[in-house]
């Protein structure tokens, strides 16, 4: 990703790319944005039974500056959306987002005045996980799907972005930090 942009089009970086993506996928450090009930299943996902550490997510870094993937777990309200966006903007590239649960995918069972109907209204999401709450096995499946995506070198939110097969040559708009 960033490698091609740094070295330009004239370098063939396939094998190096594969190697770097392999390293990235096997050490995805999540930043748990645990907001409500899905956070408890996310804790179980990190707990002793469905161990996420064996997939490379060794530590749950609560600091956005030190993490790769943000797992948004729980209903996002309008008041909280600003905070989530701010934290997302603080994460360094390359970064991915897992939208865990029904509430983050589409608003869930809350069609009310204060709930954002899906976090993809303000965040680029890579993997959606269904469930209310999703079982930790389901979240592990999401992590593995994300790992496959990382191996292919795709990321919705990083800079520069791949859309399908076409690579963008110009950078997309930088996300605003002063949100």
């Amino acid at each position: 990703m960033g490698l091609e942009h740094a070295l330009g089009d004239s370098f063939v970086t396939t094998k190096l790319d594969l190697a770097i993506n392999w390293c990235r996928k096997n050490s995805l450090w999540p930043m748990p944005m645990g907001i409500s009930c899905c956070a408890i299943e996310m804790m179980s996902f990190a707990g002793p039974r469905f161990d996420a550490a064996r997939f490379g997510s060794e530590v749950f870094r609560f600091s956005p500056r030190q993490s790769d993937v943000m797992i948004v777990a729980g209903t996002t309200t309008f008041k909280m959306a600003k905070v989530v966006r701010k934290i997302y903007d603080q994460m360094p590239d390359p970064k991915w987002v897992i939208a865990m649960g029904a509430c983050t995918s589409s608003g869930g069972m809350y069609r009310t005045y204060s709930v954002v109907q899906g976090i993809d209204q303000f965040l680029p999401v890579d993997v959606y996980v269904a469930g209310c709450p999703p079982r930790p096995d389901n979240l592990l499946n999401a992590l593995i799907t994300l790992q496959q995506k990382v191996q292919r070198g795709e990321s919705k939110g990083s800079f520069p972005a791949y859309i399908g097969e076409k690579k963008l040559n110009e950078p997309h708009d930088l996300p605003s930090i002063s949100g």
Binding site: K82, Y113, P175
Partner: protein, 161 residues
């Protein structure tokens, strides 16, 4: 126990000051707005009644042209293990009630929540601002004329770039 409370209230505040009703063993007393603080203080400090615990304070939108909003106080006595409910009605335009934070400090956040959801202002409250929704929100959601799905654009959302 309910009869004892009604007796004490009537003897202290007179016959017209309180209308009572009972449903499923629970007593509800409707108090006029001007006397609510003295009634509550009496209920808290009287040695026979001792209602020292405010369990709940909630607003109620009756959606009637007269006396639209009500505030319901659910009291509990730790010594006598008994509950009672007080109800106060107020008008629709500029609903105002005196605050209960002088009698029970727990009423602080409950009154903020009632202000947030219904728009009922409690006079004398130390910190009358919203508790659940952002301060810039202009509506009061639990009123019956506010739609469940909200008003689009009433709450800001960060941009997806």
């Amino acid at each position: 126990m309910n009869a004892k409370i009604i007796e004490a209230l009537k003897s202290r505040f007179g016959e017209q000051a309180a209308q009572t009703s009972e449903f499923r063993g629970e007593l509800t007393v409707i108090i006029p707005k001007e006397r609510i603080v003295e009634v509550c203080r009496f209920l808290k400090e009287d040695p026979g009644l001792r209602f020292d615990f405010l369990a709940d304070l909630s607003g109620l939108d009756m959606f009637t042209p007269v006396n639209r909003f009500a505030v319901v106080y659910n009291l509990y006595s730790l010594a006598n293990k008994h509950r009672i409910r007080l109800k106060v009605f107020t008008e629709e335009d500029e609903p105002k009630l005196p605050t209960m934070t002088g009698v029970w400090s727990t009423a602080n956040w409950h009154e903020r929540e009632t202000f947030d959801m219904f728009g009922i202002v409690f006079e004398g409250h130390p910190d009358m601002r919203r508790v659940y929704l952002p301060d810039e929100f202009e509506h009061h959601p639990l009123r019956k004329d506010f739609p469940l799905m909200g008003i689009p654009g009433s709450l800001p959302l960060p941009k997806k770039s």
